[in-house]
């Protein structure tokens, strides 16, 4: 009667789960809460600070146009191109700044690791979809904007199962 008990156990487990809380993140309405503001890097110690590797944020006042980020990206995705910024936004001597093509970026964060001037961080923003390829290319001006992300859902574990709450 091992078979019968096995079948009954399986059925019992199935019925039990009908009353368990469901573990589904209803994504557009709820979003997971991430650690910190995003992945950052401290070149002085050479260690990153934990956070989501979302889209980048460029601090114009720190960027020197040294191209280290672009060089770091060359071996990975070739997503970073150094472009001339308009005269009024010019912050550094070469007046070039990274422009990132998110159609190519793999979000590895090596460019952040490469930046010695605290100019390039990654943020929690990951909703980058666009209708055109051009829309995925973020100019330095766009990269300057700090995204607003409302992420508050976290995994809650209780006796009746885990949920996203």
């Amino acid at each position: 009667m091992n078979t019968a008990t096995g079948i009954i156990r399986a059925l019992n487990s199935g019925i039990k789960h009908i009353a368990t809380k469901r573990f589904t993140l209803r994504y557009p309405e709820e979003k997971l809460k991430f650690v910190g503001d995003g992945y950052q890097f401290d070149p002085s110690t050479g260690v990153g600070i934990a956070g989501l590797k979302g889209r980048h944020m460029l601090f114009h006042d720190h960027c020197t146009g040294c191209q280290l980020c672009s060089i770091a990206c060359e071996g990975v995705a070739e997503a970073i191109a150094m472009v001339k910024v308009p005269e009024e936004q010019k912050q550094n001597k070469k007046s070039i700044m990274p422009q990132i093509d998110y159609g190519k970026c793999v979000f590895c964060g090596l460019c952040v690791d490469a930046c010695p001037f605290y100019a390039l961080y990654m943020t929690n923003d990951y909703e980058l979809s666009s209708f055109s390829k051009e829309g995925l290319i973020y100019t330095p001006a766009q990269l300057q904007v700090k995204p607003f992300v409302a992420q508050d859902s976290e995994i809650q574990i209780s006796d009746r199962g885990a949920t996203h709450g």
Binding site: A10, S13, H17, T20, R22, F23, R26, T163
Partner: protein
């Protein structure tokens, strides 16, 4: 409440209902008004009872219960009503549609997810309609070397065979499409058509995977037909009848499952196999043979096969209810039709209308239908449940199970019935 639907909000539910009703009304008006105008302008209006039947008059009639109810009554007495609406196709299709939705929601609950959610604004209640629209607007692709006539006919025939299976099911006292002496045998005859349709459909596609799936389906259905037939013999022996209505009526004091639990279990398992449901869904084992005999069916053809499958599911569940769970029998819970309404008529504000055609349905019929539906839903739940907890079994295991264990159990059941009969527990002189 929160367990079943954690985010249930009554207001949203009502809002969604109103929304849906609005859309229905809108479409109804948009389609209905032109129809009325066509009637007005194109068709010559008849004269009934000396009056010219203008649309206005027709509308008045439609709202006048004294006029419309006898017509409804007369319509309800026809075979056409039975075939199309109540115990027949409409009722079954409604329950089948409900089953599809319930299956998806229930399986989602069991698997800790949500299931259909957005269509229809509340918990995806219109998902089925959306699916239907999608299927009907999809391109039907027929393989180049297919045998076209059979390929086209098979899905339709599948639905038709399932519908004729439904015809034998008695829902309430007197409410059955075909009340025949040998109804149970008719059921077996109809079940015999499914493997043929399946194998023909599979053959006609001229493709490998459908052919393997079709042959598997053939073996499976055909092998489980014998335990199916044998498991029901006990009930027939005890009632001495093959008439399903009679069998249902004979269980007024206790259902046969009390005496023949083994038969009920065997029938339940064979039912799963005949329906090609997990754990017996070998004909559609997607990890081996893509989608089995459904591989080449596209668009609405697939939709029709699914409809047929769920009609069949309803019919099998109903057969289980009729044979083992007492059919419509149950305590009377429906209140009687208020007698003073019959005597005094219905007061509608200042007007009192004496409605001759009431009540439309008798108390017994409503009660019977209620119990029948409740039991059927319970059985359907148990048919759906294994999909969540069992893996698919292999064809040789399946055939082995059907031919050795289930047939053996079915014969045990037969001998139990014989023993009950000859020891005098049941049958003439016994209980009942």
């Amino acid at each position: 409440m929160s367990v079943i639907a954690p985010n249930f909000k009554l207001s949203e539910f009502i809002k969604s209902l109103i929304d849906n009703a609005f859309w229905f009304l809108l479409i109804g008006v948009l389609v209905g008004l032109p129809a009325v105008f066509i009637v007005l302008f194109v068709i010559e209006l008849p004269i009934i009872n000396g009056e010219l039947l203008t649309p206005f008059l027709a509308l008045t009639w439609m709202t006048d219960p004294t006029r419309i109810l006898p017509i409804v009554h007369a319509f309800m007495a026809t075979d056409l009503f039975r075939v199309m609406i109540f115990p027949g196709f409409g009722f079954a299709a409604l329950l089948a549609a409900g089953t599809i939705f319930a299956e998806r929601k229930m399986l989602a609950k069991l698997q800790l997810r949500v299931g259909p959610f957005y269509c229809g604004k509340f918990e995806g209640i219109l998902q089925l309609m959306g699916d239907g629209l999608k299927l009907i607007s999809k391109e039907i692709i027929i393989p180049a070397k297919a045998d076209k006539p059979i390929f086209w006919a098979a899905p339709v025939l599948f639905v038709a065979a399932a519908a004729s299976f439904v015809a034998f099911i008695p829902v309430a006292p007197g409410w059955v499409v075909a009340d025949v002496d040998v109804g149970l045998l008719g059921v077996f005859a109809v079940i015999g058509f499914f493997p043929i349709i399946t194998i023909l459909s599979a053959w006609s596609a001229n493709s490998k995977f459908p052919f393997i799936g079709g042959i598997r389906a053939l073996f499976q259905m055909v092998s489980f037909e014998i335990p199916l037939i044998l498991s029901l013999l006990g009930v027939v022996m005890l009632t001495g009848s093959l008439n399903l209505s009679f069998i249902a009526a004979s269980q007024s004091s206790f259902p046969w499952i009390v005496f023949l639990p083994i038969g009920a279990i065997v029938f339940y398992i064979t039912m799963l196999a005949e329906l090609e449901r997990i754990p017996f869904d070998l004909p559609e084992a997607e990890s081996e043979i893509v989608a089995g005999w459904l591989t080449e069916l596209s668009g609405m053809m697939y939709g029709l096969v699914q409809l047929g499958t769920y009609l069949k599911l309803y019919a099998f569940a109903a057969l289980f209810v009729v044979l083992f769970l007492g059919g419509w029998n149950g305590p009377m819970v429906v209140p009687p039709f208020p007698a003073e309404l019959l005597a005094n008529g219905i007061e509608l504000g200042p007007v009192t209308a004496n409605v001759s055609g009431l009540p439309l349905f008798t108390q017994e019929m409503l009660n019977g239908t209620l119990w029948f539906v409740l039991k059927t839903v319970a059985v359907i739940f148990f048919i759906l449940l294994p999909r969540g907890v069992f893996p698919r079994i292999r064809i040789d295991m399946l055939l082995n199970l059907g031919w050795t264990k289930l047939i053996g159990l079915a014969f045990v059941n037969i001998f139990i019935a014989l023993g009950l009969l000859y020891s005098g527990v049941l049958g003439p002189g016994g209980l009942q």
